[in-house]
């Protein structure tokens, strides 16, 4: 029974992936990509990797999908012709994809049986961290440096997008993402959903210590709620020069870095946590990260300040 379910999900994955590749226009491809994100999330759930599934659904499908929908909507429309790159580029891309596929297949098929794993070791040291979710322990204790760098990458991406703005609109506000006259249904949704969404986001962040969830998932839900309010025109996008906004953006990376530096003093290593007090420190870092990730993701979707639109 579960074998049939897994085979169905695998077939669906391939089907949706081809649908994305063969889509006639960018918007169709993007919608297919969002659907692909959801199917991949289902596959992760079947693989018992709920943390990854949540992230895939929220970031891979949701936020990335939204960024690409907006990008596709801005592309100039060409009537009739297929809106894709020329034949040569397509062949090069296809060739590279096949190479990656062969390489990945070789690695996966060549794995020794049983596959090497650090899981027992990760589980053995879990009590020392005060956490119940081994994934959170990996993200914020064992491999905290990776997570720190991920957040910095997010920050760099945001700076790159902001730097696309024209000189005159630098420090200004991004254009409102919604329609000029939002419909009543959208306004209603934007009024009713955010309280529930904020609650879910806080739960995801808080529960992340012991069950699947965490800063990225909670941040993505918070960002979605903010974007919904902006889409409905209930409030205007903030100016990117706003001091409070910049502090929110920096809170996560700065708190994380500060804790890392303190690690030298209290635990003798960068990102070392004080003995016995690891959990409160981790929660403080996660709280700051959740806020920063939410603000950064929403700003990534909003794009550069207005004025950059003109070609």
């Amino acid at each position: 029974m579960s074998g049939a379910l897994d085979a169905g999900i695998a077939a669906l994955l391939l089907g949706v992936a081809f649908r994305v590749l063969l889509a006639r226009d960018p918007l169709g491809a993007v919608i297919g990509f969002v659907a692909l994100g959801l199917v991949i999330a289902l596959a992760w759930v079947r693989l018992a990797a709920v943390d990854v599934a949540l992230t895939e659904a929220a970031i891979g499908g949701g936020v990335t999908g939204l960024v690409m929908v907006r990008a596709a909507a801005r592309l100039p429309k060409r009537e009739g012709a297929r809106q894709t790159a020329d034949r040569g580029t397509n062949w090069i891309a296809a060739g590279l994809c096949v190479l990656v596929f062969i390489g990945l297949s070789a690695v996966v098929l060549g794995l020794p049986e049983p596959a090497p794993t650090l899981a027992p070791e990760a589980a053995a040291h879990l009590p020392g961290t005060g956490l119940g979710n081994p994934v959170t322990a990996v993200l914020l204790v064992y491999r905290a440096l990776d997570t720190l760098l991920e957040v910095v990458v997010l920050l760099l991406a945001l700076i790159a997008i902001w730097s696309l703005s024209a000189d005159a609109s630098w420090r200004g506000a991004p254009p409102p993402p919604g329609p000029r006259q939002p419909t009543e249904a959208l306004v209603f949704l934007a009024r009713v959903l955010p309280p529930v969404g904020v609650l879910v986001a806080i739960y995801l962040f808080w529960a992340g210590a012991d069950v699947p969830g965490g800063a990225f998932q909670g941040g993505a839900v918070l960002a979605a709620m903010g974007l919904l309010v902006l889409l409905a025109g209930l409030c205007a996008p903030p100016r990117i020069g706003d001091r409070g906004l910049r502090l929110l953006v920096l809170a996560g990376p700065v708190v994380f870095l500060a804790v890392g530096m303190l690690g030298w003093a209290v635990a003798g290593a960068f990102l070392g946590y004080p003995e016995g007090a690891a959990k409160p420190v981790i929660i403080a870092v996660e709280a700051a990260l959740t806020l920063s990730i939410a603000v950064m993701l929403a700003l990534l979707v909003l794009g550069p300040p207005a004025g950059a639109r003109q070609p």
Partner: protein
């Protein structure tokens, strides 16, 4: 007792699946956006309601049951609002096409 609850579950979930099948059929076969939306939202509303209703007797705790009802309410809210938005865009582009002709 458990036989009775199982019977309720099987009946309701099957009925819900029928609604989802009909909705999917409508989504694939109906001629335009508005009728397709109609088919889709019926599946979302009634189909999911029946499935949740059927699963309620199987819920381990009251909290689990409450969570399922909350999920149904949220899907109602989302699908209702999104259907409205899509319908409005479809209507507007239909009017625009008419004006062009």
């Amino acid at each position: 007792m458990s036989l009775l609850t199982d019977l309720v579950t099987i009946t309701c979930v099957l009925a819900g699946v029928v609604f989802f099948l009909a909705g999917t059929l409508g989504l694939l076969r109906f001629p335009d956006t508005l009728t397709r939306l109609h088919a889709l939202t019926k599946a979302d509303n009634v189909g999911l309601a029946l499935i949740v209703l059927g699963l309620l007797p199987q819920a381990g705790t009251f909290l689990d049951a409450l969570k399922m009802v909350a999920i149904w309410l949220l899907v109602q809210l989302a699908s209702g609002a999104v259907a409205q938005l899509l319908a409005e865009v479809a209507l507007r582009s239909a009017h625009a096409a008419e004006a062009k002709e």
